[in-house]
């Protein structure tokens, strides 16, 4: 049992920077308002972010786990809370609880090829995993990032993606559903990148984050390459109120996404994955 602090009590953080990523997505960088921040996080974990008087939402951490003091969150302004969050300015305060949930198996995957597959905003929860991989790059085989968005305007972290693409030890493939403007890159859904991606299906760990339908087709494509489902990980999302396994909202079959997820080994939830409205 954890120490006797009220787990529903947020810790105060201060906005360091708000960065506009695309038309509807933005990144917050936060530092602890007092000296003590939250415990360090693992790639793939999430925090509960509280906007004063408005509400609280779960958002995955998109920053570097090697710099745990500064929390970085990238999200889309879609609801009351995230829209209010988008209006925040430097030095304003925000409440944070966390970090919560399971994490991407980066250290467990040492020795393997790494395939990261992201759809849309799904790149945000995968970025900490990529940071961790790159921090010990020599301990992995091939490292591949496959990223798909609706249009070129929806691509997150553009500068960073360009820098990653310049590296010789990292394969980055980007595709869009619909080409607009002067896009000369791939057009098509992310799973279509998998047949040609350079990795050894028998010695690869794959980590996927995106809409459920995208993850389903990505898993199929990876299986068609010969990958076993025990080596495929997905990140799931459900409504969440407490993040500590007590409110019941985030159930996925017998699991609670806040503590058994959000990152699942695919074979563990395979039987639940194709069921509608579960």
């Amino acid at each position: 049992m954890l120490p006797q602090v009220d787990p529903m009590l947020p810790t105060l953080y201060q906005i360091e920077k708000v960065t506009k990523e695309t038309e509807d997505t933005f990144t917050l960088a936060l530092n602890p308002a007092q000296t003590d921040g939250l415990p360090p996080f693992q790639p793939g974990q999430f925090n509960m972010l509280y906007i004063y008087g408005v509400g609280e939402v779960p958002i995955s951490i998109s920053g570097d786990p090697a710099i745990p003091r500064t929390l970085v969150h990238t999200t889309r302004a879609v609801g009351t809370v995230t829209r209010a969050m988008k209006q925040l300015k430097k030095d304003q305060q925000i409440g944070i609880r966390g970090p919560y949930g399971s994490h991407w198996p980066v250290t467990e995957a040492i020795g393997d090829d790494i395939v990261l597959v992201a759809g849309g905003i799904g790149l945000a929860p995968l970025r900490p995993a990529l940071y961790q991989v790159l921090a010990m790059r020599e301990r992995f085989g091939k490292v591949v990032l496959l990223y798909g968005t609706r249009t070129p305007e929806d691509i997150l972290f553009k500068k960073e993606l360009e820098n990653w693409r310049k590296r010789f030890d990292l394969e980055v493939y980007v595709t869009v559903d619909r080409a607009t403007g002067n896009w000369y890159g791939n057009v098509g859904v992310v799973p279509s990148l998998i047949p040609k991606a350079p990795f050894d299906p028998h010695q690869t760990t794959a980590m996927i984050c995106g809409p459920e339908v995208m993850m389903r087709f990505t898993v199929h494509a990876l299986q068609n390459r010969g990958m076993a489902t025990q080596n495929i990980y997905v990140s799931m999302e459900r409504n969440m109120k407490c993040a500590i396994g007590l409110c019941g909202h985030c159930q996925l079959g017998p699991t609670f996404i806040c503590k058994d997820g959000p990152v699942y080994r695919f074979d563990v939830i395979e039987r639940l994955f194709d069921k509608r409205e579960l």
Binding site: M1, L2, Q4, D6, P7, M8, L9, P10, L12, Y50, Y52, G53, V54, G55, E56, R76, V78, G79, D91, Q92, Q93, I94, G95, E237, R238, N239, K241, C242, I244, G245, L246, C247, G248, H249, Q251, G253, P254, F256, K259, R271, K275, R276, E277, L278
Partner: protein, 389 residues
């Protein structure tokens, strides 16, 4: 907490006239007495001052979507089964402020709400309700995170249990292994006997402090005849329950039928009203509401009971995961009877029958299980085949 003593221990007898002495002795130890009483023609749980507040001489008739109180021919203190309320209203309140915050526009200060301690005596808690209490203890107190508010309200609860000799029309605790006699987790357990001119309680102390309370009243060691009468009343009760459920491999039954056409049949009737989850003694889902005062200088977070039957419950950007009534009912029953076992090592159903009685259209959890079994070619077994007679 209570020790694990059960049936077969030394039994004692108190006359009905000593019942109020028992309550006084409990009250004298500093406990607030909570118990059954009648309001708006139903049995509810509230503060009581003595036996005069109990529904003496009343019984109830319960069926799918039906609850009626009837006068009894005798003056039994506990001659009814459970009503719509559960003890969770005291130990897990429907609204609870978790904290308050203040802001001057830039800085925020958060003030935790100190968990309030209470010393409640639950007078007349039934075996199925004790089982439900044990389930909540496991959820809220066994971590990894615990609920400090539940912990404070539950830290010192005196449990005066009453065995069920008058089961209701929707009861099936015997099928769930939680009744009609209590097994463990109580301070004192009573079995009421009202026959001809006799009116007395057999008393089974389940803890040291229960035994201490008993010392404060006039009692005698139960005679063989008294014990035999109580045992007969309880074994009769096992067969007088209006419902029964076959729980053999029930977890697998639910899991392999996630896509069964029967869910659509239920959905045609289910109103998504959430009554079943509100009356359920084990349902624990909650939501939080964040609000501010008019000036915006203060904000607070309140925890409230929630229900998996609402569309908001599963809402994520773009819409609800469970949009249909079919999906919500399936979630509720599958959680209750199957996934609860994976999560907490116990069934989420204790067989109290409230969800059947208080469903406005009489949807019946036991019927749902039979329907799944019959669709798999099983024949419905008789009650006697299930209870092993």
């Amino acid at each position: 907490m209570c020790s694990e003593k059960g049936k077969g221990e030394a039994m004692f007898t108190i006359d009905v006239s000593a019942f109020d002495d028992l309550l006084s002795a409990i009250k004298a130890k500093g406990y607030a007495l909570l118990g059954p009483t009648i309001r708006d023609r139903v049995v509810v749980y509230d503060q009581i001052s003595g036996s005069k507040d109990l529904p003496i001489g009343w019984s109830d008739r319960q069926e799918g979507g039906t609850y009626r109180l009837n006068k009894r021919k005798d003056q039994a203190f506990f001659g009814y089964s459970v009503g719509p309320q559960t003890w969770k209203k005291f130990l897990y309140p429907d609204h609870l402020k978790l904290w308050e915050a203040h802001s001057d526009g830039s800085r925020i200060e958060i003030e935790p709400a100190t968990p309030e301690s209470r010393r409640y005596a639950l007078i007349g808690i039934r075996p199925c309700e004790l089982a439900a209490l044990a389930i909540h203890d496991r959820i809220f107190l066994e971590g990894p995170y615990l609920d400090p508010h539940y912990q404070a309200l539950r830290a010192d609860t005196f449990l005066l249990a009453v065995n069920c000799t008058e089961p209701g029309g929707t009861c099936f605790c015997h099928s769930m292994g939680s009744g009609p006699a209590v097994k463990q987790g109580f301070d004192l357990a009573l079995t009421e006997i009202v026959e001809n001119d006799d009116h007395y309680f057999l008393v089974n102390p389940g803890s040291d402090r229960g035994a201490e309370i008993l010392q404060e009243v006039v009692y005698h060691e139960a005679t063989a005849e008294e014990t035999a009468r109580a045992e007969k009343a309880l074994s009769d009760a096992e067969y007088r329950m209006g419902r029964y459920m076959d729980i053999d491999n029930i977890r697998e039954l639910l899991y392999r039928n996630l896509e069964h056409p029967y869910w659509e049949e239920i959905a045609k009737r289910c109103l998504n009203c959430a009554n079943c989850t509100l009356v359920c003694p084990t349902c624990f889902c909650s939501t939080v509401e964040d609000s501010t005062d008019l000036s915006g200088a203060s904000a607070s977070r309140t925890r409230m009971w929630d229900s998996c039957f609402t569309s908001q419950f599963s809402y994520i950007h773009g819409g609800s995961v469970r949009q249909s009534a079919m999906a919500r009912y399936r979630q509720w029953i599958t959680h209750k009877l199957a996934s609860w076992q994976d999560q907490f090592g116990t069934s989420g159903c204790v067989g109290c029958g409230r969800c059947i009685t208080w469903c406005p259209v009489g949807i019946d959890i036991t019927e749902a299980v039979w329907a799944l079994r019959e669709s798999e070619g099983e024949t419905r077994r008789e009650k006697t085949q299930l209870t092993g007679v």
